[in-house]
Symmetry: C2
Amino acid sequence: MRWSQYFLYTLREDPADADVISQKLMIRSGMLRKVAAGIYTYLPLGLRSLKKLEIIVREEMNRAGAIELLMPAIQPGELWMESGRWKLYGRELLRIKDRHDRDFLFAPTAEEVITDTVRDAINSYRQLPINLYQIQTKFRDELRPRFGLMRGREFTMKDSYSFHVSWESLDETYEKMRTAYSRVFTRCALEHVPVEADTGNIGGSASHEFMVLAKSGEDAVVSCPNCKYGANIEKATSTFFSDEPEPAPMTEIAPLHTPGTQSIDDVGKFLGKPTSQLVKTLVFDSDQGCVMVLVRGDREGNLIKIKNYLGAEWLEMLPDSRFENETGGPVGYCGPVGTKAKRVLADVSLRAQKNWVIGGNKPDTHLGGANPGRDFAEPEYGDFTTVFAGDPCPRCGTPLEIYRGIEVGHVFKLGTKYSEKMNCTYLDEGGQRQPMIMGCYGLGIGRTVAAAIEQSHDNDGIIWPMPIAPFEVVVTQIGREDNVRATAEDVYRKLIDAGIDALLDDRDERPGVKFKDADLIGFPLRVAVGAKSLANGQIEWSLRKDRAKQLGASADVIMRVADEVRGRRV
Amino acid sequence: MRWSQYFLYTLREDPADADVISQKLMIRSGMLRKVAAGIYTYLPLGLRSLKKLEIIVREEMNRAGAIELLMPAIQPGELWMESGRWKLYGRELLRIKDRHDRDFLFAPTAEEVITDTVRDAINSYRQLPINLYQIQTKFRDELRPRFGLMRGREFTMKDSYSFHVSWESLDETYEKMRTAYSRVFTRCALEHVPVEADTGNIGGSASHEFMVLAKSGEDAVVSCPNCKYGANIEKATSTFFSDEPEPAPMTEIAPLHTPGTQSIDDVGKFLGKPTSQLVKTLVFDSDQGCVMVLVRGDREGNLIKIKNYLGAEWLEMLPDSRFENETGGPVGYCGPVGTKAKRVLADVSLRAQKNWVIGGNKPDTHLGGANPGRDFAEPEYGDFTTVFAGDPCPRCGTPLEIYRGIEVGHVFKLGTKYSEKMNCTYLDEGGQRQPMIMGCYGLGIGRTVAAAIEQSHDNDGIIWPMPIAPFEVVVTQIGREDNVRATAEDVYRKLIDAGIDALLDDRDERPGVKFKDADLIGFPLRVAVGAKSLANGQIEWSLRKDRAKQLGASADVIMRVADEVRGRRV
């Protein structure tokens, strides 16, 4: 492609409303253009990366035995009523009425349509397992779309769904898909980790997320450097508290005057104790009612763990205005002793501890020497806190590390959630009808492209990994002399003929502008043809990542550049 | 691909609600599955044809200098308000409210978004022309979706938009695109004609449709076998009437008693005259008011031509109940003499005629010897009728032929309709702002696949042209003997290794079922491996289109089949 005939315009300024680096760089480099909040046009340059990734994803899906089809974006509400998601899915589901006033939606995922397809086609255990996928435009009506392609409303996703007669068969496909996902991200040269993830409201028994590591990542990822245990922060456990003995005898319970201490830090400072020796009281509202949760003062309550323990659909902090009513204690001074709360949970970190310092359920009052079982009913113990860096790995005890990551893939053992509701069954060997066991597997196409940029850029722009770079090489023509033009054209043509995906920067721009644009767009390799070095029979080439310039005769440079490109492809 | 591991199930019965052959065959052959009215899933087999066509379309678009991007399916209403289409587009536009109650729509085409993109990026004549395209899912909320992919609601379309500084530049790109479209349909081995088309309400100055010829086509296509003049029936003209002299003198006007003659045929029979010697009176209502249109008795009024002449947004037959009021004459006996109709049009076919026989504006009465200019005001003459087969070509006079066709592509000179409304301008060489001149070009991807089937099938199923066949060859394993299995597998592997897109029918089915399925799906070539011929060291192959069987040693058959496939690719 010749730049002068291409549709590629870079921007000097950061877009005003971009809130992450990938969004800024994709817009500035002419890959992406905002059409509305969370809705983008992939400009020609951006589409090239997207399509390259799609090819890699297709190859790995096909290798894993998955079969491609294409389901509609607009789906009938009826099927979603059958699965129950029409009601359960919140306002992120873009609901649509057609001209006959019938209910439709723009699909965010396609469990219903695929289950409907499979129940129609498959009748016998002999026809299973099957694993079907599509690469299709999805829509999720985010309340606050942001982060560009990271949390857009319209987005391209690869989604797969597998159907099985047994959990063993599901496990087998699940492992194949995990491998396929790892291969995709490895082929894109992305540093990534698969982590155990919460199964949340989707139901199902096991789930892994694939995280591309990047400082700007929205998610925290817990990882063991020794045994490769990995989990997202919502799910991760540690053995930090499991058997911390505390042989001390129980002391008397006694009130402590703690005026004006609203936070746990205030209480610690006032009493001269580290917060690890205090007990923090959290109060939540949920569809399962109000609940009090006690955690060690230096730890954070984990809403997802608490919600899962309760089996709740939703859980949120109790508003201050309702504290007195629900617990009998004022905000900042709540505690389990004499509380009105019907249910009290305590983190396992507290199980071995005696003589708790805890809210007294009166203004300006805490209690010391409070002991469960004696001063108040034994709470329900469980894992209700979030892992900290340095906590021991639950598998091997090595101190855990915490990274920031971007979720780019999610694999999920769904079980029979959809097949039971939608009557997707098969006849087993004994002639009995059984619900199929399902898995589902998502991979964000646009999101992965954006994550690659989050992971790999510098102050001047993107540094593309070769396999998803929009072009592999830019040939920059510096100046308008005839021999410069001719050589640049010749190098470009020879690279194209060698199967290299090259762009010729033949624009009528100053060298500085061209170099700045090349850095911003982040072509992995640059070849520069200018009068000065050409006078010595040489042209220049460099890698974007270190920009170390090398000179050589054009035939040598072409060969060397082609080799570099091929060596970085996968 | 091995059929036993594929997701491909054929149906024995025609689907109840399929109304065209392509829809029946795509559903029965396991290519397509209905999800809701006008909304389909492309099953794996169907997606293969779709993707093959997409590759051909991309290659030809790129060859024509068009550049691919990807615009969103969900577009903001604001842009459509700016162009005026938010109001003008009827209920076929799927309008959507997001969670913040903002107006959006599922795009049926993308003039607004592309114009917004280009006005933002391009400022100077130096940056033009540019031609941008996408292959994207569209939605048109048809009142009565039918004919499967022919008039579906959700569909895949390639749409391009070009921007120019001059009409000459537009003409150049328009010709390139016409050539590209012809190449696409030729490469798909489809018999097709480009025809002049009406520019309708979209506005613009010229337009061609690409019609795939098929008996079941929705559209009538007028074509000259000599000079290649082609036009759709709404647009086609002929010279049939242009200079038919009638030197006869005017006779006296006189009433004719014609009781109970409601139709023109009745009148002809009653008076003993051919209908070509009578004048037929049509009355229409439109946004430009009521209008009377006179045509020769044996000809058909052409609503599109009349509508365009009037510059009307809509035009329809006047309901019987309003005849008396608007024309002063009863239904079946209306005429121009003494009519209340404010505007009277007459087809050019009548201009040279004298002594018209025409409705008398009284019950049971016609008039003979009526002459315009003497007995009633001269009507407005124009081309208001539809061409018949055998009429002389307007270019060369050769008798015209009429075919049925399916519109699969449409190219269109838009002019400045959108650029003026949306302020999409450039600075010309003199530094003046000018609106860009635009072209747009659509090609129905799913529709072309369906049209291929409409054009090429028999009673047993589809007969695929090689380039868009879902698989090029099926290798049918007949029986379960070890040597049959091994040979079939070997032939399959060798075809795959030779780069042939083959499917191995290794299912545990009777030969009759396998052959029936192969005919239904319409693989261009079939190789059959069975014990009987294998005993003589032979296997069998045949082309789907004639099913003539040929035997040979497997190495020879593989070579021959690979040659046949390659020879039919493009």
